[in-house]
Symmetry: C2
Subunit: 333 residues, 2 copies
């Protein structure tokens, strides 16, 4: 689908997504049921619901999040070059979000400023089983529209990486399409994360059309893939994705990941993590490792191993971004 | 010094101090020297310096802090009743600060609102030796003045607990004196934390007069006590404090703490902590344990042990407040 690059890329990966600061608190399963939450899912919430949940939760910690933002930070942590497009406000959380991108060397393209609408936040409830349940108040991030997409940034990245979460709003979806078009016109590749099985449910037809027509690399987990094709057997879903996509990277939790091309299926084991503390960011960081490898000349199997290493690091502690510099974990292949 | 209580207290401890959100990042010793920081100290910084340091630091995590606020949260975590007086702004960090007090059941008395001045923050650099170096941008917290002290709250607490850090500004010092007077008039006790040896250096005469005239329980560490009396031997400083104060609680790092009265000196060992990760909040939480015990009928030795337990918990992880409910760690005496 790609044409030849028209100029040398500056970035390995350009991410685009909802710019969010995570508000992370621990709670037990009773809290999940009392608040009618669906464990492991991402739910969009309005201001009142966000305030209600926040009030009900105990002491929280704030740290930058956002799915695609986590991914590009992981790429940078491996030593790759990355950029990010997403909207924040001129408030404390917006400042925090911008700082944490720049601090790891990610170029930040914040789009056009809008006054009076706060930076988005994701209230994450971590249960004792290390599962995370996400409640997203999109704030200004939901006002992403095509004008916020800096085409010069997109066309400077080897791979464009986009969150499926963008599909929850039409303007963001239009921004997504503009970015994908710009990437392909510059001879780059376009990748998409399915993000959440409920998100796939909400936008199944759009996702299927995209995967078949515009996406070069698809990321998702097993549930999301099954939801995409409304199937209940992994093997059947693999057959379906091989018809639609030339490269799909499907994570399967503790069973590792499958890298699926039309020619082969490469199974990569998960890292052995003695104490899984918080699964937030596992999929995002798997994509970091894979994309760092993919844009730096590693084999598909090696890309998968880098994904497992990055995901293993991020689930061993609280928070959605690596606490160690991932390049220190690079194996000798 | 106290008269008889005029009504039943509502709170075990009422804290008053600089309301700050901590911005915590890890860095190595080179960063400390490059930025001309004094390891282990607290330095007041202006907006430009705060922005400069923040920009130079890597990925950070935000969580509520403030010395006396940490202490009252620890008291609440033990199952005690606590209130807090300190100024925040109507911004994201102010919201975070208020939430994290209410989340553990601490009554929050935020004083009078001031527009346009941000909530204070403390940029904390944690080095690999688990030492913390604090750079405080006081923001609106520095505008604390006598009108912000709700006398009805102060007079409802068995013990008033105040940070020495308040002494860096005259209005806050006046607020401190108003609170101390209100507490004594209600028959309560007044306690003070010396906070930092540099802070003691800056205000030695004030602190000495206070300790002799207005403070019933003095908290501090060995360095601060030595600085208070400009002595270099612990035994000499102990003799000095016994002349001025009827109860002093002096922490000595890994050597534990000494509880000093005119009648006796009780040495309490430190908790055995296998991996000390971040010493932020160690002194604050020692005071939590001591004051929870003191206001709930425990012996002085038991109060000291509770202090060691709380300090041991907080230095075993990143962040200045307990991650476990401290009442679950209460020993059977």
């Amino acid at each position: 689908m790609s044409t030849q690059p028209i100029s040398e890329p500056i970035y390995d990966v350009v991410g685009i997504g909802n710019a969010l600061v995570d508000v992370i608190a621990h709670a037990d399963d009773d809290f999940i049921s009392q608040q009618s939450l669906v464990k492991g899912s991402m739910t969009l919430v309005d201001t009142d619901r966000a305030l209600h949940l926040y009030k009900a939760l105990g002491t929280a910690v704030e740290m930058s999040g956002g799915s695609a933002a986590n991914t590009v930070c992981g790429v940078a942590s491996f030593g790759g070059k990355a950029a990010y497009i997403g909207k924040v406000s001129h408030d404390d959380l917006g400042e925090v979000f911008g700082h944490d991108l720049l601090a790891v060397g990610v170029h930040f393209s914040p789009g056009h400023h809008l006054d009076g609408i706060p930076t988005g936040r994701c209230i994450i409830v971590v249960t004792p089983d290390a599962q995370r349940t996400m409640n997203t108040f999109l704030g200004v991030s939901s006002f992403m529209e095509p004008n916020d997409v800096d085409v010069s940034v997109v066309s400077s990245g080897k791979v464009l990486y986009m969150e499926g979460y963008l599909f929850d709003r039409d303007d963001a979806k239009a921004a997504f399409r503009k970015a994908a078009r710009a990437a392909h016109e510059a001879g780059r590749e376009v990748s998409l994360s399915l993000s959440d099985s409920f998100c796939v449910d909400r936008h199944r037809d759009d996702f299927r059309a995209l995967v078949a027509d515009e996406v070069d690399i698809l990321f998702g987990n097993e549930d999301e893939l099954l939801s995409l094709y409304q199937l209940d057997k992994f093997e059947a879903a693999v057959a379906a994705i091989r018809r639609d996509s030339s490269l799909a990277v499907i994570t399967r939790g503790p069973r590792g990941a499958s890298i699926i091309t039309r020619e082969e299926i490469i199974d990569v084991p998960a890292e052995d993590v003695p104490h899984v503390l918080d699964t937030t960011g596992a999929g995002d960081l798997y994509a970091s490792g894979f994309l760092f490898g993919y844009t730096n000349g590693y084999s598909l199997k090696e890309c998968g191993i880098l994904g497992s290493i990055a995901a293993g690091e991020v689930i061993s502690h609280v928070g959605p971004r690596p606490l160690v510099e991932l390049h220190t974990l690079l194996p000798k292949f």
